[in-house]
């Protein structure tokens, strides 16, 4: 029987994979994919808690909002990556090194 804990394990694994992707990838688009994983791990949590432990729809409604935010964030992030690409001709984050100190 699959219960709440199974879902929480999946979401924790997904969260860790997302953070790892953000920390290790050099390609800006890959980093954005890591961020999507983090947001979706939160969604799994929300829906699982809503279904198993909290007797209300609050969590599922929250998840819908998170999906919208994820789309908005991806749109803005990709626009910025594209604008950076026009100047640097690369989406490699190592190229973003003019600001330091």
């Amino acid at each position: 029987m699959i219960g709440l804990n199974h879902y929480l394990f999946v979401s924790a694994a997904l969260f860790s994979l997302g953070v790892m992707g953000v920390l290790t990838r050099k390609n800006a688009v890959n980093v954005l994919m890591g961020i999507e994983l983090i947001l979706n791990s939160a969604n799994i949590n929300l829906v699982a808690f809503s279904r198993y432990s909290v007797a209300s729809l609050d969590g599922q409604i929250f998840a819908v909002f998170v999906i919208i935010i994820a789309a908005a964030e991806a749109a803005v992030a990709l626009a910025i990556v594209l604008s950076m690409y026009r100047i640097v001709k690369s989406v490699n984050l190592d190229q973003a090194d003019t600001l330091k100190g």
């Binding site: 791990s41 803005v76 100047i87 600001l99």
Partner: protein, 496 residues
């Protein structure tokens, strides 16, 4: 429509005014190709002022929550709404005078400024974790775009890219923390979270999970207030962003972050039953020590890193990290006095920090440089700018009688009265370290002689704007009893 919602809308006028102004700016920007620069500026200015006028009467409305307990309407929220609108208004006045921004088309910038203001008002008043997350993202997404506003400038783009990647991870972690807290307490509403924690049902054997959830949520607050260890974006973004945007980021979203941090920890995670002016954390988890630790590391790291900066924007970025540490001190003592100290600190910080950035903008307009070495001999080229900058920096140091001194005084006093004298001593030692890097700039401007170029020609509007920042920084001491009374009345907030 539900009569309850209609009634709540009457108390929601400032936000509605900002939304209308935002739409008008977008419309004017596309429909009036000849007049659009002036019209969009005027609409934004009128919108912000009207929102401010509608905010003030709400101060006496008592403590309640609107829209089925989504946003609070209490004195604390109204105080922050007024503060944030004022900060946006001052930045709006500064924007057209900056060489970086005035070379681009500013209509969209004004629309973004209104959008971020609207988001901040909601952030400062949200009492539901869903509302908190949504408004936090609204503030973040608009500020990412504002940072990258100079589309053809490599540094602006790079700053924006770093900002969004760092911001998305921080707010994503915060979201994960919110979902854990939702699972543990069964609600997204702060009063319900507090009650679940108080009854112990949530923490039975889950103290560790609760601490992890709190730490993750703190990632979002730390990102907004630029507190260590979520400060890495701050120096790079402040350096790369157009200077008016830097000035804005260093004050307004930071203030909104503190508003929501205080609200979350005080009304969501504290035992409010013990006393009216003093709260205590639940025994299940000790998050006050976490805040104290973050505060100490933030101010120390900010001050030490600022010592070796030559770029003025970068120096002020680290200085703003240090100031976030001092303000966190007021929040960490968890008392009415501490909250009042944070509010006082924010009022003083608004004028002195915006003022310092304003002078940086004016000097960049003339010299094309942010480097402290190019500030040499400034006194001979523009005595007015040099003396104003000196006053702002002395105020940031915390030298009496300038405004900044009182902010620090109240924060340290709150710590001492809470039996945390050692905490106040660390803060005081930090302000001594800070004297060095501020004084270095003053020395370069006034004592050192440098490239003696021609005197600056300062536009009348820029001069007037510097005066607007200068007068409160110098004269706040004369109205001290009023400010104390205002902040003393503002700490009341909705606890459900």
């Amino acid at each position: 429509m539900n009569p309850e919602i209609l009634q709540d809308l009457e108390s929601f006028v400032p936000e509605i005014v900002l939304t209308v102004a935002l739409l008008l700016v977008v419309l004017a920007d596309i429909s009036l190709p000849k007049l659009r620069t002036r019209v969009t500026f005027l609409v934004t200015a009128v919108g912000l002022l009207a929102a401010l006028c509608f905010t003030v009467p709400l101060f006496g409305a008592g403590e309640k929550a609107l829209f089925y307990n989504m946003v609070a309407l209490d004195r604390m929220a109204v105080f922050f709404k007024g503060f944030l609108i004022l900060a946006s208004f001052l930045v709006l006045l500064a924007a057209p005078g900056s060489k970086e921004l005035s070379s681009t088309h500013l209509g969209e910038f004004y629309a973004l400024l209104l959008g971020v203001t609207l988001g901040m008002l909601l952030l400062a008043s949200s009492v539901d974790m869903l509302m908190l997350y949504l408004s936090l993202e609204m503030v973040s997404l608009t500020s990412y775009i504002m940072v990258g506003y100079l589309r053809h400038d490599r540094q602006s783009n790079e700053a924006s890219l770093k900002y969004i990647l760092f911001g998305a991870v921080s707010t994503g972690s915060m979201l994960y923390g919110i979902t854990l807290l939702f699972g543990l307490t069964g609600s997204t509403k702060m009063p319900a979270i507090r009650e679940a924690l108080a009854s112990g049902g949530a923490s039975g054997g889950n103290g560790m999970a609760l601490l992890v959830a709190t730490a993750l949520i703190l990632a979002g607050f730390g990102f907004k207030t630029a507190a260590v260890p979520f400060h890495f974006w701050c120096p790079d973004v402040y350096t790369g962003a157009p200077t008016p945007v830097t000035a804005f980021l260093s004050v307004a979203p930071k203030a909104a972050g503190f508003a929501t941090l205080i609200r979350f920890f005080f009304s969501g995670m504290s035992d409010t039953t013990t006393s009216a002016s003093q709260w205590s954390a639940f025994s299940a988890m000790n998050w006050t020590s976490l805040l104290i630790l973050i505060s100490i590391i933030t101010m120390t790291l900010g001050n030490i890193a600022a010592l070796r900066q030559d770029n003025l924007k970068r120096l002020l970025a680290y200085s703003s990290i240090a100031h976030a540490g001092y303000m966190m001190m007021g929040a960490a003592v968890l008392s009415y006095e501490g909250v009042q100290a944070v509010l006082i600190y924010l009022i003083t910080y608004l004028f002195m920090n915006l003022g310092a950035f304003l002078v940086v903008i004016e000097i960049f307009n003339q010299t094309n440089s942010f480097n402290v070495n190019d500030y040499r001999g400034l006194y001979r080229r523009s005595p007015f700018l040099a003396i104003s900058m000196t006053i702002f920096l002395l105020s940031l140091m915390g030298i009496p009688p300038f405004a900044g001194f009182f902010g620090k005084l109240f924060v340290f006093a709150a710590a001492v009265n809470h039996n945390l004298a050692w905490f106040a001593v660390i803060g005081a030692l930090n302000s001594v370290v800070a004297v060095y890097y501020y004084a270095r700039v003053i020395k370069a401007m006034i004592i050192e002689g440098g490239d003696e170029g021609a005197g600056f020609k300062l536009a009348g509007t820029s001069r007037a704007l510097v005066w607007i920042m200068l007068l409160p920084t110098v004269g706040m001491v004369l109205f001290w009893d009023r400010i104390q009374a205002l902040t003393g009345r503002s700490w009341k907030f909705f606890i459900g």
